[in-house]
Amino acid sequence: MAIALIAFVALRAMVVPHSFGQYGHYRGAAIAEIAARPIAHAGHDACEACHTDVVDQKKLGRHIVVPCEACHGAQAKHADDPASVKPPKLDTAIVCARCHEANSAKPKAFPQVVTADHAQGIACDTCHQPHRPKIEDTPAAKPATEAKK
């Protein structure tokens, strides 16, 4: 009986991970392993630390609330090594439409357009500066189909 008990304890010590039961009925070391994963999105604070000119532009318009990586994608690699990793150029026809293409499920107060009517194939950044999108200086150029802002 004693030998069986000792064998059981020895076997259990061998097969049960060291940190099992540290915090509960699981392997405690798993938490640190999951936390150790590298990040992919740098966060807007990291972007704004260098791109202060863009922040100044955004402050003048409604896109101040839009985080950089919402349009530019994950940029942790660029933030780590800005010289060799460059963000790809964005296609405004796709990026702008993701948010601003008209859809009845979107909040009514959110600026929406039917891009086929509104832009008629012209790239959004021909008229709109993405970081400060409102066209203030040339109101006559604003297409009539633009939805209420």
């Binding site: 699981y26 392997r27 936390a35 999105h41 966060g43 985080p67 994950a74 993701r98």
Partner: protein, 243 residues
Amino acid sequence: MDITRRRLLMLLPAAAVAWQYVQAGTPEASPNYKMTDHWWGMLIDIPKCIGCGSCVRACAEENDVPDDYYRTWIERYHVADWKIEKPEVESPNGGKQGFPPNPDVTGKNFFVPKLCNHCAESPCTQVCPVGATFVTPDGVVLVDKSYCLGCRYCVQACPYGCRFINPKTNTAEKCTLCYHRITKGLTTACCEVCPTGARQLADLKNPKDPIHEFLRTHTVQVLKPHMATGAKVFYNGMDGSVR
């Protein structure tokens, strides 16, 4: 059980060691992070969601989520005036590339982002036969990939459909609430990229977190409250038709 002074003196050192484990709670990768100081959840403000899919794309990129699987996704609800009890719900590609124009503009239309609710009393962790999925001391439901058998019990147990089996690893996978980010003082990838602030990470143990003021002043709900899962993803402005 009677506790004598002798027994108490024997128990105290053991209790002290156990308490140290509880207090320490520090993932090695984040030495300044103390798990017991946090209790994580999320706030989703439905009237702010524009269904752009930024959260879905960011989650996939941040966490290497396989194609056609989703740790978070967006649903578009169409509730016809005459069929309130049976809303039409669609989520093409999880809403990853946004949504096509809604053909039916009548009735009520809105987006509902979904993800793991990081339940305090999560059914998924209770059914795991090997202790591969668990609730951390800071309230995040995680999966230990190296311990998971891929038995799928948890996938079936989750009432919110938030789990899947990763086809590459054959283990259960789910939202980690970007645990690798929040333990470094960052917000989750989905909250980071949300252009309208419809998603906000919430630390329910932090008295300075704006979530407390929001919860006091708004009527928020959780999904499937009758399941008593202790869900910690709070929805503001949620229609009764949402399941």
